[in-house]
C-alpha cells in the first residue's frame, strides 16, 4: 500500500547510490521536483533511464549524479542540445558517463515488457540502423513461427521508478491524465515506485477507462505542487517553454550551470510536504 511521505523521505528511503532509476513523463509530467531532491541528497553512480533525458537528466548529469544513461532521444525539445549531457559525453565533465542508446519504439516496448514481467521485448525495429553496432543490448532473433527477423532488447526493470501525476486519493490511488507516455509501464516495471502529485483529493472523480494506478501498486506518494515545472501538468499549469529556451544558455556554460544549480536546487528547500 502506498505510503504518504515527504519528498525528502520518499527519495532518501528508495533512491540509493548505485541504483537503476527511471524517471518518466513524455514531455509532460516530468518529475523535476524529485530530480532536484535527488541532487540535493547527493546521490551518486545512478544508472538513469529515460526515453527523453530532457532538462531533468541534463541537471542530474551536470550535478554528477549519474554514471550511466539509457535513453532514446537526448535533445532539448524544439530548442537544441542538452549541453550538460554533451559536456559529459564529449569532455567527461563533471565525470565520464556510459551510454546505452535505443530508439523510442524499443524503449517503449522494453518498459512494457518490464511491466509484463518478461525478460525481453520484441519489435520490428532497427532495420538497417547502425544503433545495434554501438549498443550490444540490441539483438536480432528469428520468429519461431514465421522465420521473420525481429529485434530484441532486454526489458527495463529499474530498482526505482519515479513519475509525477495530477492527483492521488487518500488511499494512494493515482490518476494520470493527458499525455500518459510510459508512466504506467515505468511504475509497474520497477521494484519500487514513487509518485509525486500536485494534490491529494477525496475522490479522483473519473470514469471507467481513466489511467488510474491502484495504491497497492505504488510504494510512496509525495505531494509536490508544480512538481513537473518547467514541464507541465495537464489541467494544472502549461509547459514553461520560455524556461526550456533559457536553459540553453544556462547549460552551455559550466559556471552558469553551477550558479543556477546553487540558487535554484541546492540552496532551496524544494517543493515538498
Amino acid at each position: 500500500m502506498a505510503e504518504f511521505l515527504s519528498l525528502h523521505d520518499a527519495v532518501s528511503s528508495y533512491v540509493k547510490d548505485g541504483a537503476t532509476l527511471a524517471m518518466e513523463g513524455f514531455t509532460h509530467l516530468i518529475p523535476f521536483a524529485a530530480g532536484h531532491e535527488i541532487i540535493r541528497q547527493g546521490r551518486r553512480d545512478l544508472t538513469l533511464i529515460r526515453m527523453t533525458p530532457d532538462l531533468i537528466y541534463d541537471q542530474l548529469i551536470g550535478a554528477g549524479c549519474a554514471s550511466k544513461l539509457i535513453f532514446s532521444w537526448g535533445g532539448n525539445p524544439g530548442v537544441g542540445s542538452l549541453h550538460r549531457l554533451r559536456d559529459a559525453l564529449e569532455n567527461g565533465w563533471p565525470r565520464k558517463i556510459e551510454i546505452l542508446e535505443h530508439s523510442h519504439a524499443a524503449m517503449a516496448c522494453a518498459y512494457e515488457a518490464g511491466a509484463a514481467g518478461l525478460p525481453l521485448a520484441i519489435l520490428r525495429g532497427y532495420v538497417g540502423s547502425d544503433l545495434p553496432k554501438v549498443n550490444n543490448q540490441i539483438k536480432f532473433i528469428e520468429c519461431p513461427f514465421t522465420g521473420e527477423r525481429l529485434a530484441a532488447v532486454p526489458s527495463v526493470r529499474p530498482d526505482v521508478s519515479i513519475v509525477h501525476a495530477q492527483k492521488a486519493d487518500r488511499q494512494g490511488n493515482v490518476l494520470v491524465q493527458g499525455i500518459i507516455g510510459v508512466q504506467k509501464e515505468a511504475m509497474l516495471a520497477a521494484k519500487a515506485c514513487i509518485v509525486t502529485v500536485e494534490e491529494v483529493v477525496d475522490d479522483l472523480g473519473v470514469g471507467p477507462n481513466a489511467c488510474v494506478i491502484p495504491g497497492w501498486a505504488v510504494s510512496a506518494i509525495a505531494v509536490a505542487e508544480r512538481g513537473a515545472h518547467p514541464s507541465y501538468a495537464y489541467g494544472y499549469y502549461p509547459r514553461d517553454n520560455r524556461f526550456y529556451k533559457e536553459w540553453d544558455a544556462i547549460a552551455r556554460d559550466r559556471e552558469a550551470f553551477i550558479s543556477w544549480l546553487d540558487e535554484n536546487v541546492l540552496n532551496t528547500e524544494g517543493v515538498q510536504q
Binding site: H28, G75, A105, V127
Partner: protein
C-alpha cells in the same frame, strides 16, 4: 505575383503539398510539423496527423514547440500511451507516411541524427534516433525535409541512425514487412526523389530562381538531375497567408503562455 516569399516558406509550402487527404501521417517535430499542419489548414483538411507522444488525429491551433505540448493532446481525437502508439498504430501498419526532419542525409537517403565523427569520442553529439528508426521502416513511405547545404547533404552519413536505402541502396531489398522508404526529399532549393533502380537521390524539380549550380554547390556528392527537370510551383497567396498566420499565432502563443519562473 508571389515573388514576395522566402526560401524557408518555399520549402514548407512544397513539403505541405506532398501530403494528401486520406493520408495518415506520423509527424516529426519542427519543419515536418509546420508543413503537415499547413497541409491540414489548406488543401488536405482530412489528413490525419499523429505524433509520437500518443496524440492521435490531432488538430493543433498553434505549432507545438515539443513533441508533447498540451496543445497536441487537447486538440486530438484521443491520446494513447507511447507503447501503444509505436506498437499498435505504427508497427501495426496504420501509418501511410512518416514525415521526418534530420541533421544529415546522404545520397541513399539514410538519415543521421546521432553524431558527427566517431561514436566513442564524437565531434558533435546530436540528440539521437527518437522515433525515426522505426517510423522510417514501418510507415508506408517517408518524406524528409531539411535545409540544403554541404554539411547536411553528404555523400555518406557518419552514422546511419535511420534507414533510407542503406550504404549501397539495397538494404530494403527482400526485407519483409518494410515500407517503401523515403520517396521524396524537400529542401529549400529543390525536390529530390530516389532513382527507381539505384535509389540514389536525384533532383526532380528546382524551386523558382534556383539554378542547377546552386544545388551542385550545396550538395556533398555529384548530384544528378532528372531529364525533364521541372520548376516547383511557387507558393500561392493563400498558402502564404495561412502559413504566416499559423507562425504568428504560434509565436504569440509561445511567448504568452510562459510564466518564466525558474524551477
Amino acid at each position: 505575383m508571389n515573388s514576395d516569399y522566402n526560401s524557408a516558406e518555399m520549402m514548407t509550402v512544397t513539403a505541405s503539398r506532398a501530403l494528401e487527404n486520406g493520408m495518415t501521417c506520423f509527424v516529426g517535430i519542427g519543419l515536418p510539423s509546420e508543413a503537415a499542419n499547413l497541409a491540414r489548414l489548406t488543401h488536405a483538411p482530412n489528413v490525419v496527423l499523429i505524433y509520437e507522444s500518443g496524440t492521435l488525429q490531432t488538430k493543433p491551433e498553434v505549432l507545438p514547440l515539443s513533441i508533447g505540448d498540451g496543445e497536441l493532446c487537447e486538440s486530438a481525437l484521443t491520446t494513447v500511451s507511447v507503447p501503444e502508439m509505436f506498437r499498435y498504430w505504427l508497427q501495426g501498419g496504420h501509418v501511410s507516411v512518416g514525415f521526418l526532419g534530420t541533421a544529415q542525409i546522404d545520397r541513399f537517403a539514410n538519415l543521421n541524427t546521432t553524431l558527427i565523427g566517431d561514436y566513442v569520442s564524437p565531434k558533435v553529439r546530436l540528440p539521437g534516433g527518437g522515433g525515426a528508426p522505426e517510423i522510417a521502416t514501418n510507415a508506408g513511405e517517408v518524406f524528409v525535409t531539411l535545409k540544403h547545404s554541404k554539411r547536411t547533404f553528404v555523400k555518406d552519413v557518419d552514422f546511419v541512425t535511420t534507414l533510407g536505402f542503406g550504404r549501397d541502396g539495397k538494404s530494403r531489398d527482400g526485407v519483409p514487412n518494410i515500407g517503401k522508404g523515403p520517396t521524396r526529399v524537400i529542401s529549400d532549393l529543390c525536390v529530390m526523389k530516389p532513382d527507381p533502380d539505384t535509389k540514389e537521390l536525384i533532383v526532380t524539380s528546382l524551386h523558382p530562381g534556383v539554378s542547377k549550380q546552386d544545388v551542385i554547390e550545396a550538395t556533398g556528392w555529384d548530384v544528378r538531375f532528372i531529364s525533364g527537370l521541372e520548376t516547383t510551383p511557387a507558393p500561392t497567396a493563400h498558402e502564404l497567408k495561412i502559413l504566416r498566420d499559423l507562425k504568428e499565432r504560434t509565436a504569440r502563443h509561445h511567448a504568452g503562455e510562459s510564466v518564466g519562473e525558474k524551477s
